[in-house]
């Protein structure tokens, strides 16, 4: 197919994943170079340490240039391709196949890259936010002995993520999908010497396997149904069978995959634990990019979901329940990163509501704005943790640097971080005119509009009419918005307002993060501030409206219309919806400010949570329940029954069988070769007769 991108800079799209991969290889090599003795020294014992130190800092300097450098190059390339797309409207995607991967019978899977409006947008977000987070990491990981290894993983992650968003077929996307899962595992368990971190990485890996199983089954079904797996061909063919059971099944299995990757009910359990990794990792992987892969996949597979309205309703329902569920837990978390983790789960729920109701643009819009403000929040939290950690380090106190009860009044010590996080908080709470307001409002308005009248509203799920379900989802969305405002205000109040609870001696060591850390945060905060202008609603024309919707129209437009119809809410209704949403956000913030104003004791002196608070801070005890119901029985089964019984049994069986076989063979062999020449003669004659018989009697 001919697209306007032919012969332009887009022909170099293959460089996009390869640049970070190159960075990963260089950094990976540098991280193992000392062990290989390449960067080692040959001096005397006395100065060897000094030389090693010098070579270490030299290595770090190279890494500090290479890691963000390749990201910046990839970002520049994305921007160039984006610019090249501005000229002419592009109706069909730009696809380039570079190599045949699995030509099996009628199935041909190729290594291909697909550039369209959605993938280039994702690529911009991944490389843009990625670059900033790489810069932040330079400051955050400065003193870590695993500096080069960290950046090798981080670069590898971006390479995989770009494979995921740019892949031109389901299997290529799946390669990226698994790759980011691997990098997530490696980075969650980055400080693997602590058992809990290694366990958290393992948990993320195992829970994601469940989702991947769904994704794989969906791919098998697609292949079995239409015999193709590339997006263009498969979606065209799947569009022909809209409304069939098999399409719904495919969509539901895809949803299972997305729920695993994007931490939706019931597979969300791994994300809060994933906070064991370094904080910039949480910002990049577990907030801005990887966890949104599920949302991306639903938007990418929009033709599949649009042809299966009941599956779309399931997506929206799962999303809204997750959003509410996670938001309640976030209300009573003491770990600043846990608050943000549950908040991420909750916001991902919003995105699922959007893509489930066919508001693909709104979902992607919220994905982008969320990447901005959640990255700010995580990086800001990283700065705070960094500062507290440093403070505790100077006084040799072992205390929790992530606990909100040990913070308080930090705005005085770190004004830039506090300001940036305040902007992000207002954005996530949905205060106009910040980015989160526009994206969240668009999701809620779209849900309401679909509930009023749309093909999706006319569909039904398990006998429940779609419109009833959608109204419920809308109300749940509003409640979630209220809770979001409350828990974010609580976090900000506890961390930045009031009296400082870090400790009198430690206070003098609290300080603002270095410029290499604050600068990316401020840039992201600016994006969180103005990100809403990406897609202003027609209702509030303070600039060019619905830009993103026009941009994504060729990719998701037809699918969105199939679910949403062409319902347009009257302006009065829309204004009421906006007023309700803003009112709720303001109420939540006001409540949070009043409720969490009072001074409180630090962690060591804090009373234990009781009643509902205890239930919530324990995240409803789900982790414990999963542990008791699944993990421990499996461990018992594996350690007791399988290891001691089956493994040892099989082992012994094999060795005993082997012994018996050799003994039998030896017994007969001995009888044939005992040195009795007479017997040999008999055997020769018998053999000759047998051959003679075989030849003559044939």
């Amino acid at each position: 197919m001919i697209t306007p991108l032919d012969g332009t800079v887009a022909e170099y799209a293959w460089l996009l994943p390869l640049l970070p991969l190159l960075g990963a290889l260089i950094n990976g090599f540098l991280s193992i170079a000392p062990r290989l003795g390449i960067a080692g020294s040959r001096g005397t014992v006395g100065d060897r340490e000094a030389v090693a130190e010098a070579s270490h800092s030299r290595t770090n300097a190279i890494v500090s240039v290479v890691a963000p450098g390749v990201l910046l190059a990839a970002f520049a390339l994305s921007v160039a391709i984006f610019m090249a797309m501005q000229g002419a409207p592009m109706e069909s995607p730009f696809v380039r196949v570079y190599a045949r991967w699995m030509p099996v019978g009628t199935l041909s899977i190729d290594w291909g890259i697909q550039i369209d409006q959605l993938s280039i947008l994702m690529s911009l977000v991944v490389t843009g936010v990625g670059t900033l987070i790489h810069l932040f990491s330079i400051g955050y990981m400065k003193t870590d002995p695993g500096y080069a290894r960290y950046f090798a993983y981080l670069n590898l992650f971006v390479a995989c993520m770009l494979t995921l968003v740019l892949g031109s077929s389901y299997p290529v996307l799946f390669v990226g999908w698994e790759g980011v899962g691997l990098c997530s595992y490696l980075l969650i368990g980055f400080w693997f010497s602590e058992r809990a971190n290694a366990e958290a990485g393992k948990k993320a890996f195992v829970v994601n396997r469940i989702g991947d199983f769904g994704f794989l089954v969906a791919m098998f079904l697609i292949w079995a149904t239409v015999g193709k797996l590339d997006f263009v061909g498969a979606h065209a063919a799947l569009g022909q069978i809209a409304g069939t059971t098999v399409l719904t099944t495919i969509a539901l299995f895809l949803l299972l995959g997305c729920a695993g990757k994007s931490a939706q009910l019931p597979l969300y359990v791994w994300l809060p634990d994933a906070m064991a990794g370094p904080t910039p990792v949480s910002a990049l992987i577990h907030a801005a990019t990887m966890v949104t892969a599920g949302v991306y996949l639903v938007a990418r597979a929009a033709p599949v979901f649009a042809g299966a309205p009941s599956a779309s309703l399931v997506v929206a329902t799962v999303g809204s329940l997750t959003a509410l569920f996670a938001a309640t837990i976030a209300l009573r978390q003491w770990d600043i990163k846990k608050v943000l983790a549950y908040s991420t789960v909750s916001q991902l729920g919003y995105m699922f509501v959007a893509v489930g109701t066919g508001a693909y643009t709104a979902g992607v819009f919220h994905l982008v704005t969320h990447a901005f403000f959640k990255a700010v929040l995580f990086l800001g939290a990283g700065s705070v943790i960094h500062s507290l950690h440093h403070a505790f380090h100077t006084t040799h106190r072992h205390d929790d640097a992530q606990d909100l009860r040990n913070m308080g009044g930090l705005a005085r010590f770190m004004p830039a971080t506090a300001g940036a996080m305040l902007i992000a908080t207002l954005a996530i709470a949905g205060i106009p005119p910040l980015s989160g307001f526009f994206s969240k409002d668009e999701i809620l308005a779209a849900t309401f509009a679909r509930a009023t009248s749309s093909p999706l509203g006319s569909a039904s799920l398990l006998g429940i009419p779609g419109s009833t379900l959608l109204y419920t989802i809308y109300v749940l969305g509003l409640i979630t918005a209220l809770l979001t405002a409350v828990y974010m205000t609580r976090m900000m109040m506890l961390a930045f307002a009031g009296q400082n609870r870090t400790g009198t001696e430690e206070q003098s060591a609290l300080h603002e993060a270095p410029a290499v850390m604050t600068a990316p945060v401020l840039v992201l905060a600016l994006l969180a501030l103005v990100g809403g202008w990406l897609n202003l609603p027609k209702l509030i024309p303070i600039g060019k409206t619905v830009v993103l919707e026009h941009w994504l129209e060729p990719v998701v437009g037809p699918s969105a219309r199939r679910l949403a119809g062409d319902v347009v809410l009257p302006h009065e209704t829309e204004w009421i919806l906006v007023a309700v949403a803003v009112g709720i956000a303001v109420a939540g913030i006001a409540y949070g400010m009043l409720r969490f104003r009072a001074p409180m004791p630090d962690k060591a002196h804090a009373p234990a949570d009781t009643g509902l608070s205890a239930v919530l801070s324990n995240a409803y005890g789900i982790d414990g329940a999963v542990d008791a119901a699944l993990v421990r029985p499996i461990n018992v089964l594996a350690g007791g029954v399988l290891a001691r019984g089956v493994d040892v049994g099989v082992d012994r069986g094999f060795s005993a069988g082997g012994k018996l076989f050799s003994r039998t063979a030896a017994f007969f062999g001995q009888r044939f070769q005992d040195g009795d020449v007479g017997k040999y003669a008999w055997l020769v004659v018998a053999g000759a007769l047998a051959m003679l018989g075989a030849l003559t009697l044939r």
């Binding site: 001995q670 005992d674 040195g675 007479g678 003669a681 008999w682 004659v685």
Partner: protein, 97 residues
């Protein structure tokens, strides 16, 4: 004529085989082996009458090799006798495990 010759050859061969299988004295075994070789020689000669000179060539060949074999074989028998004091095969079963 050829039928009779082959018949005699077969009888001679069978006597040789039976001798090898049943007797235990190495000297007798050798003689039986010679008997088998000569039975084959007889067949060769008989067939040579029909198919030309090749059979004769083979007979000369077999006789030559049989002479060599007898020389080596009898030498072995002598050294076995010197070593074990007997030429009875059933006594030579050192390998029996």
């Amino acid at each position: 004529m050829i039928a009779e010759a082959l018949f005699v050859s077969a009888i001679l061969f069978c006597i040789g085989v039976i001798g090898v299988l049943t007797r235990r004295n190495m000297i007798i075994l050798f003689m039986c082996a010679e008997l088998m070789l000569n039975a084959v020689n007889l067949s060769f000669v008989a067939f040579a009458k029909m198919h030309g000179v090749t059979g004769h060539v083979f007979v000369i060949m077999v006789m030559t090799i049989a002479a060599a074999e007898a020389a080596v074989g009898l030498a072995i028998v002598i050294s076995v006798f010197r070593h074990f004091g007997t030429v009875d095969l059933s006594a030579l079963r050192r390998l029996r495990g």
